[in-house]
């Protein structure tokens, strides 16, 4: 009888685990980034025309050493990117005088230059935005999806990665962190 109870208990536990695996829903996408605490990968991003008079034909991370940066990856087909865009612009206007630079990287969006321009116009972006046409910058930053936003401090170290759209709480906390 005792053995029967043990066997039934083992089967019940295994069956429970099996059912948990079946019904636990979509897996968590919050994979820890390898970049946190490491130097932000260098990249050169070809900029859209409207930003070229101020920033040049392309944006280079190395050229802005010592500047706290917010690097935002987005795509023209991504709905959460539309949701967060007004917030990004608002925070850029609020923090640019304190020396924070935002940069927008359109990625996973090969050839969609017109859609990119429309996006920029729609939200009136004043920070530099360019096209990562072959998504190689996205791979350098080990992007999982869009939007994703990296916060880089004065020393050029990635201190935080936001997966999904940014929120006021994240912006307040992480912007202050990279300004320290």
């Amino acid at each position: 009888m005792r053995r029967l109870i043990v066997v039934v208990a083992v089967v019940a536990v295994l069956a429970g685990l099996f059912l948990y695996g079946l019904f636990r829903g979509p897996p968590n996408r919050d994979v820890p980034s390898n970049l946190i605490g490491k130097p932000a990968p260098q990249f050169t991003l070809p900029l859209y025309e409207r930003f070229q008079p101020k920033y040049g034909a392309s944006f280079s991370v190395d050229a802005h050493k010592g500047t706290p940066m917010v690097i935002n990856f987005w795509a023209s087909w991504c709905n959460p990117c539309f949701d967060e865009a007004p917030l990004l612009e608002r925070y850029y206007r609020q923090y640019r005088d304190r020396g924070v630079l935002f940069v927008g990287v359109q990625t996973q969006d090969r050839g969609k230059y017109d859609a990119g321009r429309q996006f920029i116009d729609r939200f009136g972006y004043t920070f530099p935005v360019g096209m990562d046409n072959d998504s190689s910058i996205g791979v350098e930053y080990a992007l999982f999806g869009v939007p994703e936003t990296y916060f880089v401090d004065r020393s050029g170290t990635v201190v935080y990665k936001q997966v999904g759209p940014v929120t006021p709480a994240v912006m307040d906390k992480e912007l202050e962190a990279i300004l320290r």
């Binding site: 996408r29 919050d30 090969r110 080990a142």
Partner: protein, 177 residues
Amino acid sequence: MTRAATPAARRRPPLLLTALAAALLLAGAARAQPAAAPPATTQPAAGSDVEISDRAYAIARQLRCPVCTAESVADSNAEIAGEMRLLIQQQLDAGKSKEQIVSYFRQRYGDWILLDPPKTGLHLVVWLLPLLALLGGAAALVLLVRRWRTAAETTPDAPEEDLDRVRAALRAREDDA
């Protein structure tokens, strides 16, 4: 004297086998599950439907598509997977080895990017567990079969005079026949 198998004992093997089968099934399911997979929104490949070599395809099959669930870079239709296939091809064309290319992606995404976990350190558990479960199941099966056979060959546990009466009855039946 060996004890005869009781009816309860005879019912045990199917339960044990069920438990073993469930364990093997779980081990298999655990192998097939992604450790953790991402994304929110994905976009089908656009300009990246470029032919790649068999070598590039073989490397892409080892890598997990970052925006998919349990799908390789080789098989995924997501744009980022297409760009990664191109990147692999470009790196091969630049003379890089398979190990160098895999290492390039591992440095950025960590071990997560590998569809099959590396056969080192703690990851070995994932590789060895199904094998151990299989060996354990086989060993349990051999033991059970041995026990059943021993039980079948064992003299019934009954008083000698009752056994004598049974033997006599069997003899009488044979004589009648």
